[in-house]
């Protein structure tokens, strides 16, 4: 919060830049891993039965997979990295300083994965079936390994576990939510493999093959329909208590219109997921003959929305931290923020040119403080904005509210001296169009 300049993304906020890229990346990347298993198992079965039409189909399918995953999949992953570096350099720096060599291992895995993907596709028909199958299984094993490695870093952010006290890197990597998370994601990779395959198989021209492959691909969705709720429940039990309480409260109160975005997203996820399974059961599984490409695309789109919703939920559960119990989203360390009363933002932040607050520059300084402390999650008048949240408040109320942010359990404490707090309140009041205070307004 004190060290780096802040990227001011209008209207949507930097979080959405990460979000949009990440949702597409996770969608394609999890498919990439699942498709490895799909290709390996399907090719194995096809070779055993000497099923030439299926093998021919797999060849063109693997071309599609290669073009999608080695280009878009890889680049979107790097895109996340660029985006998080721009939005939260403190967070990325912390992660890289912890996990540099884990990421180096992940890099080796990617290198081998991409090379084998190329070998797998370009060697169709040129090498023995045995070797080709070995390549298929190798590709899957390595793709799965990439999930195993990145999962440690991802889950660390929400459940850093004992690392908080021990600073031991293995405590960080094999943290409390590691195992359920990897199982959940593996189940999802199989579902996505099924989903994409349904779409691709719907394009097969020869009817007999199309019907067979649609029916077969639909099966890939079935296991996770039953397993995911179990493993997701396990995952939730490993989350920090405050997070679990949040989810529980949301679920308990959803009937009475607790319209927190979190619970609404959970509701949506359930609706969309059930729809995907019902349609894939009624359609490609039971009635593959009349299942068309358009509907395949439709449930694929639902799958994308589910991916987006679940990733959003995971992100929201972690708020206000980017590394739970260690680093807040706005870049402030928890240990430092705890000492907030003796903090002077202007003195310590390197990017605010003003050194003191005067009547003339109060709004300008207020905007700077907003950028430094609040912009990481809020915008002035766009997404999760002050105009939405502080509507109807007067400036005195805003000023007092800022001092008690932690009471919401969703926000970091304000760090700064009283006059800095006043400047921030003035700025927010200005954005929201707040009166000076209800007392003074009434007296006028």
């Amino acid at each position: 919060m004190l060290e780096f300049p802040v990227w001011n993304v209008r209207a949507a906020g930097g979080g959405w830049v990460i979000g949009v890229i990440a949702i597409f990346h996770v969608f394609v990347a999890q498919f990439a891993i699942g498709s490895g298993l799909y290709l390996a198992i399907t090719e194995t079965l096809a070779v055993r039965r000497n099923d030439q039409p299926v093998l021919a189909f797999l060849r063109s399918y693997s071309n599609f997979i290669m073009l999608l995953t080695t280009v878009f999949g890889a680049l979107s992953g790097v895109g996340i990295w660029f985006a998080i570096g721009n939005v939260n350099p403190t967070g990325v720096s912390a992660l890289i300083h912890n996990f540099m060599f884990f990421w180096a291992i992940e890099w080796v895995v990617f290198l081998v994965e991409i090379a084998i993907a190329f070998f797998y596709y370009y060697s169709w028909g040129k090498v023995s079936q045995r070797f080709h199958l070995q390549l298929a299984w190798l590709y899957y094993g390595i793709a799965f390994l990439s999930l195993v490695v990145i999962n440690g870093i991802l889950t660390f952010m929400l459940t850093p576990g004992d690392w908080i006290h021990t600073r031991n890197i293995w405590d960080a990597f094999f943290n409390p939510s590691y195992v359920p998370s990897v199982i959940v994601r593996t189940a999802i990779t199989c579902s996505l493999a099924g989903l994409f395959s349904i779409v691709v198989c719907a394009r097969i021209k020869e009817e007999g093959l199309r019907v067979r492959m649609l029916h077969y691909s639909a099966k890939w969705l079935m296991p996770s329909f039953f397993l995911l709720p179990v493993f997701l429940y396990w995952y939730f039990t490993t989350l920090p208590p405050a997070v679990a309480t949040l989810v529980q409260n949301g679920i308990d109160n959803i009937g009475a219109g607790n319209l927190s975005v979190l619970t609404r997203l959970l509701l949506l996820i359930m609706l969309l997921s059930v729809t995907i399974y019902v349609v894939s059961l009624l359609g490609p599984f039971f009635n593959p003959r009349s299942f068309s490409f358009g509907f395949g695309l439709a449930i694929l789109a639902l799958g994308l929305v589910v991916t987006g919703a679940t990733e959003s939920v995971r992100e929201m559960l972690r708020k206000p931290y980017v590394i739970y119990d260690y680093l807040y989203v706005n870049g402030a360390l928890k240990t430092v923020a705890a000492d907030s009363s003796r903090y002077g933002i202007l003195r310590q932040n390197k990017w605010i040119p003003e050194r003191s607050i005067t009547d003339e520059n109060r709004l300008v300084v207020g905007e700077q403080i907003f950028r430094v402390q609040c912009l990481s999650c809020h915008t002035p008048s766009g997404y999760r904005s002050m105009t939405d949240l502080a509507q109807g408040w007067d400036r005195e109320f805003i000023y007092n509210r800022i001092a008690s942010l932690q009471a919401t359990n969703l926000m970091p404490p304000f760090m700064g001296e009283d006059d800095e707090r006043r400047a921030l309140a003035e700025y927010i009041g200005d954005v929201v169009g707040a009166p000076p205070s209800s007392l003074t307004a009434a007296n006028q």
Binding site: E3, F4, V92, S93, A104
Partner: protein
């Protein structure tokens, strides 16, 4: 004037700086050679494509069409490997120079992020060119042209960011002026254009060298000779232009910083001089091989010398960067480290195992595709 340089991360660097720098140089070297092949290769492919249409003689047109097709086949793999080998150095750079790298990235956030979109377009455009070589016929040079422009722009953006990274004196003014919007190009940097041209010419030179290398391995006489000469010409032309650009680049760098290369005694100077000697000798060998005045071995020796020279220049590049940064009070000696030897060992195990696995796959592939069964 207090420069707004972020403090080092409170978490120590998880490895010895020397080791990380070594890995940085190693992976960046591979990245640079691949990237040069890509960037220069795209330019050469585009030119070949144009000549294949408007060349003066049918033989010339035919030869260039064949070369364009050959390059088109290789380039998608090169892109993939370039991107993959770009990841590792970026990781190590962020570990050591994060305070500077993240800051400059944030200051030009949208431009920096744009790199990914440009690569995406360039990459798929290249695939359209490659896969549609026969089918698209006339229109395919739009795809190769688009791809070339995309990657040239990516290179330009990188030069913007990496130069801004080393000049914290400009940061506060930029931040105040842009209000953190992330729309910024580092166009007032004195070294920007010479640096970009230097790297772009180097890319063309390396690509020419690659074509020469392909020509050295070409079994068909005529074609081999053509590729050696054409590739060699590009290499030589680029290298000669490089002399001028190099001087421009050299003198654009502030005097007290460029002193490490010729004035101050030290590893930087040794490498600098060695590299230039190797470049000179290597160019000679390549020139001889290109014009048939010497055999294949000379050609390969020339290529080897150029590659070693590139490696040395890469280290020079980092040494110059460190000079810039030391000038504003940074030093890597002051960075706290806490090496995670177990994880580092695991990394090396993975690296060896991974490369071993790839080698096994390559050999098995070779064996199965060359045997008559």
């Amino acid at each position: 004037m207090d420069l707004p340089i972020p403090s080092p991360d409170p978490i120590p660097v998880p490895g010895e700086i020397g080791l990380i720098l070594f890995l940085l140089y190693l992976t960046f070297f591979v990245h640079v050679v691949l990237m040069n092949t890509l960037l220069g290769g795209l330019v050469l492919t585009l030119v070949s494509e144009v000549i294949s249409r408007r060349g003066s003689s049918p033989e010339s047109r035919h030869r260039h069409e064949h070369l364009a097709e050959k390059l088109a086949h290789i380039l998608p793999f090169v892109v993939s490997l370039t991107v993959t080998f770009g990841i590792a150095p970026l990781l190590f750079v962020q570990g050591i120079y994060g305070q500077f790298f993240y800051t400059s990235s944030v200051l030009m956030a949208w431009v920096w992020l744009g790199v990914l979109l440009l690569i995406l377009i360039g990459y798929y455009s290249l695939y359209l060119y490659t896969r549609g070589f026969a089918r698209f016929a006339r229109r395919r040079y739009w795809f190769i042209g688009l791809s070339t422009v995309m990657f040239l722009t990516v290179a330009f953006i990188y030069v913007n960011n990496l130069t801004l990274m080393q000049t914290p004196q400009k940061w506060l003014a930029i931040y105040t002026h842009t209000k953190g919007s992330g729309w910024h190009w580092n166009l007032d940097e004195a070294t920007l254009w010479p640096r970009y041209l230097h790297f772009a010419l180097a890319a063309v030179a390396v690509a020419g060298m690659v074509v020469l290398g392909l020509g050295l391995r070409e079994k068909e006489e005529e074609r081999g000779r053509f590729m050696r000469r054409w590739g060699g010409n590009w290499f030589l032309a680029a290298t000669i232009l490089q002399i001028g650009v190099g001087l421009w680049f050299y003198y654009a760098v502030p005097a007290h910083l460029r002193a490490i290369f010729l004035e101050q005694e030290g590893p930087a100077r040794t490498l600098f001089i060695s590299a230039h000697v190797l470049f000179t000798l290597g160019s000679l060998c390549i020139g001889l091989a290109a014009y048939g005045r010497a055999g294949a071995r000379t050609g390969w020796a020339g290529i080897a010398m150029i590659l070693v020279g590139i490696a040395e220049k890469i280290i020079n590049r980092d040494q110059l960067r460190q000079a810039y940064l030391r000038d504003v009070g940074w030093s890597f000696e002051a960075l706290p480290t806490a090496p995670q030897h177990d994880v580092i060992a695991l990394f090396f195990i993975f690296l060896v195992a991974g490369l071993g696995l790839l080698l096994w796959v390559m050999f098995k592939y070779r064996r199965e595709t060359s045997s008559p069964s």
